[in-house]
Subunit: 168 residues, 8 copies
């Protein structure tokens, strides 16, 4: 089994956030790998990783990082695979990580999602894989249809709140 998506993060403290990406891919039965890599502490390993990812069969990279979050951009500079960046909140409500990931200069995009939005990163990765994969496309449609259920449940919960002037 080859990993189609590679999840990387700067430290284990990012796991609480990035775990949601792993869970989603697992649920969707998309093979993935997880690694800790630091743009600042292990630049050689980062480079090796970025250079070899494509050869190893990886198709999309999800990179989470906080503060002056360089990891997603540095990886993007060294691969032609699409890179999805997850700003991990640790200071300034995650604004520093968001800007350090999204504001990439011309030539090297990082597909940025919301602060701590690791699940959405995994959904986006699946959408990218589904571009040329009919089966995944179906799964994605199924997943999207399922989002409705949350709202149905929400309405059932809200229905429990009774007010004299509430119309139902």
């Amino acid at each position: 089994m080859k990993a189609r998506v590679s999840i990387i993060m700067g430290s284990t403290s990012d796991w609480a956030v990035m775990e949601k990406a792993a869970k989603f891919l697992n649920e969707m039965e998309i093979p993935f790998e997880i690694n800790a890599l630091s743009a600042h502490r292990t630049p050689d390993e980062v480079e090796k990783f970025a250079r070899e990812a494509e050869t190893r069969g990886v198709e999309v990279i999800i990179a989470g990082a906080g503060m002056a979050a360089h990891l997603p951009g540095v990886i993007a500079a060294m691969t032609s695979l699409p890179v999805i960046g997850v700003p991990v909140k640790s200071s300034f409500d995650g604004l520093d990580a968001l800007l350090a990931i999204v504001q990439m200069p011309p030539g090297i995009p990082v597909a940025t999602v919301a602060v701590n939005g690791a699940q959405n990163a995994a959904i986006l990765a699946m959408q990218m894989l589904a571009v040329g994969d009919v089966e995944l496309k179906e799964k994605m449609k199924h997943f999207k249809a399922g989002l409705k259920d949350k709202i149905v449940n929400a309405n059932q919960t809200l229905a429990e709140h009774k007010f004299d002037y509430r119309v139902q």
Copy 2:
């Protein structure tokens, strides 16, 4: 009994905030309805809701949403009823929700209140209904007069703090 005000929100997690709108309308004996609707998860239901609200007799819509809060603006795009937007705080102290609601482009206004300001949204809805409704206008004046009492009570509480050089 027809709902004159419709309260909508993106998920049940917004209820803790939006409840204050329901309580105020209930207290003022203005018939209202409450629904969960998501601009992103149930776009069809949102459209159906927006298209039919006026026909069903709804006169004002209050929409609460957080993060990239699209619900109020999306509803406003599909109805000619006035829409009041409540930015619900969940990240960036609610700044993302505030800007995503208030910064609407020319042609489609959303009447925005403070972050988590659901009670004020209900007061504003009542003021709109009162434009052509003498009875509600009287109630509104009565409510406004009552705001003074809080200050009177506040002064009584403050009077308990004794200092040698305090003049009373």
Copy 3:
């Protein structure tokens, strides 16, 4: 002819922004009035205005202000009419005016629109008046339908840009 909407602003320098509200109301044939009033320079006149607006037949107030923009909130405190606030940009990209208008405390809402969003303020005022006015409701629907035309025109303009790989 009685003014149904009252447009107020802190100084003539706000006119370039607030003019759009006047133009829209004029186009919609809704009688309105325009006045300069300053929460800080003419507090007595502001009070007199706020107290008498309703008696004079005004149904909605639109107040534009910049910087520490107190005018909309101060007016809202003195009337039970709905007040629409327009943050006028003059410093901090209008963020100071936006926060000083939208972040009203419980009890006294101001219906806030985008920075410099005076036209939207007028549209919102019309929506409020239309709550109990069938004719205005029709006009509003007509106006909303007209918004589409801009997009049609936009597409015609965009169609002029030719690229070898553009599909039309």
Copy 4:
């Protein structure tokens, strides 16, 4: 005994912050008064207060407020006494209150201190009173000299932290 300084605030919830102003004035034996007043809920009382403060012998006003903090500016508009504004933190880390107080338009200044900086507001009030009062000027110098002691104590505390390579 006439109050030389008047402390006002929008609600009793501001007391936890504003108490520090009262304590400082008390310690300095400067007569003061404390009142709750709301620019939005009791505009008439605010006006009455502002108009009469000078006649009653008040020389400086300290006004604390949060969110769209209009109280200091509204008071400043109605009196020629110097008004000191204290932004009280309740949302956006107090940025909304700070901007709504400090960004006053030309003609009506409010002397703004740090977010929650009520003690500094009282010190500033004392400095203003001391402009024409030799005795207060001496007290102020004495107070300023005392600020050093905190640093002396800080150094004694820091001295307790032992490190092999610390030089003392």
Copy 5:
């Protein structure tokens, strides 16, 4: 020729920014289409577009929008294709558009690029298409290699600046 990438924007005023995406795709010989669509002014057309894009053969959508930029998120809600969002700067230095695009709730990601980063959006679209397309993958690598040349040129330009103490 079917469009593989669909570029949409809210108004022709966004063209100056979005043009860079069209130019890049054209240069890379990737068939694309361009349309103006407004989440707020033409909600029906937006829905029709989103529903039919996949059937028409579109594989990736690039959506540019400013202010309370709902277009990318609204499209993403109605399709299972990957959607790339370009925040277009028009107020608050583009911060409102950035937050309104990137801060999407769980379930509906938008792949966000830098403010005005339309060229990067097109590069990202190409990277997504290249996931299952060997030829595009080669083109992408070629493009990336070409980025170096800019730096080589930059160094030649910098070499012209002579200083006595510059070492070359």
Copy 6:
């Protein structure tokens, strides 16, 4: 003639802003002095100035500074006179200067006015002097009364804009 107010600034580039303070004091016939002093470039001169200001008869200090604006706080640390700080805009719309001036720690207040608000600084200085000076108090009241005239003029200007549906 002794200077009652001392205006200081970090460099001549601040003069365009600080000139308004000088003009106001001149108009009010309050003796003042103007000096350039830099907390960073001439710390000794700053100290000498701060230590001697009171002895020389200065009663209030107005200090303007931009960026990491330390001058007002540094002066305030070395004198017991009230210090008014004017944040001068040169980067970040003046937010850096505003925060560096207003966020003083307990014990050393700086009376902060709006970004570039030098005229208001002078008005505030006059209000402080007027605390113990009946003549100045009268002048201040006269000045405040004059603020109304601007609004009267504003209304005359606004009256020139004719609309079919404008009520005057």
Copy 7:
């Protein structure tokens, strides 16, 4: 033993942050000293400290401060030694301290590190000392090499998370 690095801070409440600088220097066996000094409460002591630091053999100064953080800049103004500034978080997520430290005017730099980044300040101090010190240079390289180990450990921890579709 002479202190090569001097750590200063505004109050003992900064110790929890600044302690990390002391620990790092101790571990690296670089002699240092720790003092509390306040730019605002003890300006004379600050000046004395700054003037004498170099004579006493200090080679680098690390200064931590919060809010309107003037200490690093004021010290930098009075010495020609390099000064490293640590913004200590106490309000606005440390943004006020960051801007008040980093935005120094031309002529007087402060080498600023991240909010609460005291350990990095100590590393930077060591890098400066190592410029002319071969032994320290070796230690620094050794330390940098050690940063890798954290990542190795992180990967071991991450390896414990098992998923059906995880590839390892």
Copy 8:
């Protein structure tokens, strides 16, 4: 002649800002080199540069970058030399560049200066070199003494502004 300071920047568009660093070093007769290097476009060259800088005799690195400014941090990760980061303003008033440079994680500091503060970066580099270099230390003191002259000139310029109530 070996370069003691190495100035690097992401593109020639940064030259207008970074030139001030070159000019200062030239004036101080400190040998330096200038190169364009991009963390994103030429990652291999960046690594080669970082690895060899020390061997080539470089003692301090000054790196300027804008937007998601990774260059200074990426260089710092690959060398044990001190790295000074200059945030170059191109969007968000330079806030994105500032946060992406200063908010480095523990272990890898970047000595950050003000937005566009290239001259200060050069001064800081000189201060670092002067740690073990008596001659440079003297030059630095001389330079600092010269900063006073600007203020003297400023006062002469200010002296030209005459007011009836100005005391000189």
